[in-house]
């Protein structure tokens, strides 16, 4: 049986040739517009609206919701959220980097090892989070020996975050480290660089795109994290995500919840812009 597609010439970039028509993108585009872009527009519009009575919405087009957010109470919430996101990014980077480095440089059967990194990422986020309810329980065999009760505390939330987000950091790090030509590193060391110096001058710059991609993949979703604090934090400490969910499920103040969401999106966009500008400059300065 002959297989189609055995041509060896296919990698050439061709721009003028016949192609699949662009309208094929329309159904997906329509779906995105109707169920993603327009809904996001509604969130922005709601953030300028006001609650009337129990759950009616009046489009007042004023900044009252944002003014209400300008309160030390909510300042604390945003600071805690920023702290959680930074903690998650740094911790997964510190654990993930040596791990990805080992896979990229030393591991045998890389595809298989990588599959075992990806499997936890694909298993239910919810189950991976509540697993820590069992492990951190003072009744868990480990804690019957060491008497520490971390359940429903901030450390429990931090552990859950580091655990759940680790694969998101490792994958892009690996993708960057995997492309490194290790003979460059060896050459630098042969020419007298200490391992630390060759790491700083050769390995790290080459790994930087992975560090940036991984940091964004961890940092951005963390700004809206709700599930981990809800399950492991016992709702005692409030984060931006918890606050949004509360407005929509308990308090029923959708306009205020939307305003918080807009602040989260705005912060996220700023981080993205700063990061990508910095990354572009970094990339161009290194040629």
């Amino acid at each position: 049986m002959t297989r189609p597609g055995s041509g060896r010439w296919g990698r050439r970039a061709r721009s003028g040739g016949p192609r699949y028509p662009g309208w094929l993108a329309l159904p997906a585009l329509a779906w995105y517009a109707a169920f993603f872009l327009i809904p996001l527009g509604f969130v922005v519009a709601y953030s300028f609206a006001a609650l009337s009575g129990y759950s009616d919405i009046v489009f007042a087009w004023n900044l009252d919701n944002y003014r209400a957010l300008w309160d030390p109470l909510y300042g604390d919430v945003f600071r805690r959220t920023l702290g959680l996101s930074l903690f998650g990014t740094l911790t997964t980077l510190l654990i993930g980097f040596p791990f990805a480095y080992w896979i990229a440089r030393y591991a045998r059967r890389k595809t298989l090892v990588l599959l075992f990194v990806v499997i936890p990422f694909w298993t239910s986020f919810l189950i991976r989070t509540y697993a820590w309810l069992i492990i951190l329980d003072p009744q868990f065999p480990l804690f019957r020996v060491v008497h520490v009760d971390l359940l429903f505390s901030r450390p429990a939330v931090y552990i859950g975050v580091a655990y759940n987000y680790l694969p998101l950091m490792v994958l892009p790090l690996y993708a960057a480290l995997e492309r490194i030509d290790w003979s460059l590193v060896e050459a630098a060391q042969d020419l007298g660089d200490t391992p630390l110096r060759s790491f700083r001058r050769v390995t790290f710059p080459l790994a930087l795109p992975g560090v940036i991609a991984g940091s964004l993949l961890v940092f951005i979703p963390l700004t809206g994290e709700y599930l981990i604090p809800a399950i492991l934090g016992g709702n005692k400490t409030s984060y931006a995500g918890s606050l949004i969910a509360q407005q929509f499920t308990e308090v029923h103040d959708w306009p205020f919840g939307s305003a918080i969401a807009v602040v989260v999106i705005a912060a996220m966009t700023i981080v993205l812009l700063v990061f990508s500008t910095w990354a572009n400059r970094e990339a161009s300065s290194r040629g």
């Binding site: 297989r3 189609p4 597609g5 041509g7 296919g10 061709r14 040739g17 016949p18 192609r19 699949y20 028509p21 662009g22 094929l24 993108a25 159904p27 779906w31 995105y32 169920f35 993603f36 809904p39 996001l40 509604f42 969130v43 040596p98 791990f99 080992w102 030393y106 591991a107 595809t111 599959l115 075992f116 990194v117 990806v118 499997i119 694909w122 298993t123 239910s124 919810l126 189950i127 991976r128 509540y130 697993a131 820590w132 309810l133 069992i134 492990i135 655990y163 680790l166 951005i220 979703p221 809206g224 994290e225 709700y226 599930l227 399950i231 969910a245 969401a261 989260v264 999106i265 996220m268």
Partner: protein, 263 residues
């Protein structure tokens, strides 16, 4: 020396990654009524879960949504993946950015936006709204997987087919799909998994009275971890693993039998 240290460290990371998952599975086989007091090996909580209508209803809902979502996401995502690579750049770049956006927007923001939209549009919340919302990010997942393969694939046959006057539909059916099928299938399995495991979006748009498995587990956790919850979670893990494993095998086999072009 550095190599040994790194190897040891990585082994610890693997323990860290897998221990919690193993703990859930192990305690699902605990015969006792108290989750953390081991009382012999038993599969009775699995049968208890399978006889609990709250679990089976949620399970049926989850399967229906995930399967419907996978089918629609495959159609939309594949069409998008075919159109994108040779699109005019000023259109392609924003469209690609949009695809990325659907995947990186914090899910809670997406969940509430969908809730507001469905409410404003007068669409009753239920299985249908969960399905519609899930398709948004899963179409992007399929598009990325299919596109990666389509771009790496030789396009001579497509060009020949178009040159000979075949339309997009017959070219797709006779020339592209046979080679692209593994990627579409893998993308569909991933879409199934992501939908089946989704919590955030479903949390906001299911409405009262309907539930999915993750929502069932979440609401049960209010009363603590019970053996039934553990057994349900173990079954979800098994299903997810089967679906991801299948996607991996499909992609890998296709990657090896097609000359040099890896997915």
């Amino acid at each position: 020396m550095a190599r040994r240290l790194l190897g040891g460290f990585s082994a610890l990371v693997f323990v860290f990654l897998y221990a919690p998952i193993l703990v859930v599975v192990v305690y699902a086989f605990n015969g006792g009524r108290e989750t953390l007091v081991w009382d012999g090996f038993s599969t009775k909580w699995f049968s208890a879960a399978l006889h609990d209508s709250a679990v089976t209803d949620a399970f049926r809902n989850s399967i229906l949504i995930a399967a419907g979502n996978a089918v629609i996401a495959c159609v939309l995502g594949t069409m998008l993946a075919l159109a994108l690579p040779k699109m005019w750049k000023p259109v392609r770049i924003p469209l690609e950015a949009l695809v990325t956006m659907t995947l990186v927007t914090p899910e809670i923001v997406f969940g509430i936006s969908a809730l507001i939209f469905f409410t404003e549009a007068g669409i009753t919340l239920g299985l249908k709204t969960v399905l519609i919302a899930h398709v948004v990010f899963n179409a992007s997942v399929v598009a990325l997987v299919v596109r990666a393969r389509f771009v790496g694939m030789a396009q001579d046959l497509e060009e020949a087919s178009f040159d000979l006057g075949a339309g997009p539909l017959s070219t797709f059916r006779q020339v592209t799909l046979p080679r692209l099928a593994p990627a579409v299938l893998a993308g569909g399995l991933l879409a199934f998994t992501f939908s089946f495991d989704d919590f955030y979006t479903s949390f906001f748009v299911t409405g009262a009275g309907t539930s999915t498995l993750p929502l069932y587990i979440f609401s049960s956790l209010r009363f603590g971890v019970t053996p039934v919850v553990n057994a349900t979670a173990a079954m979800i893990l098994a299903l997810t693993l089967a679906s991801v494993g299948l996607a991996y095998v499909v992609l890998r086999r296709a990657g090896m039998s097609d000359t040099g072009t890896s997915a």
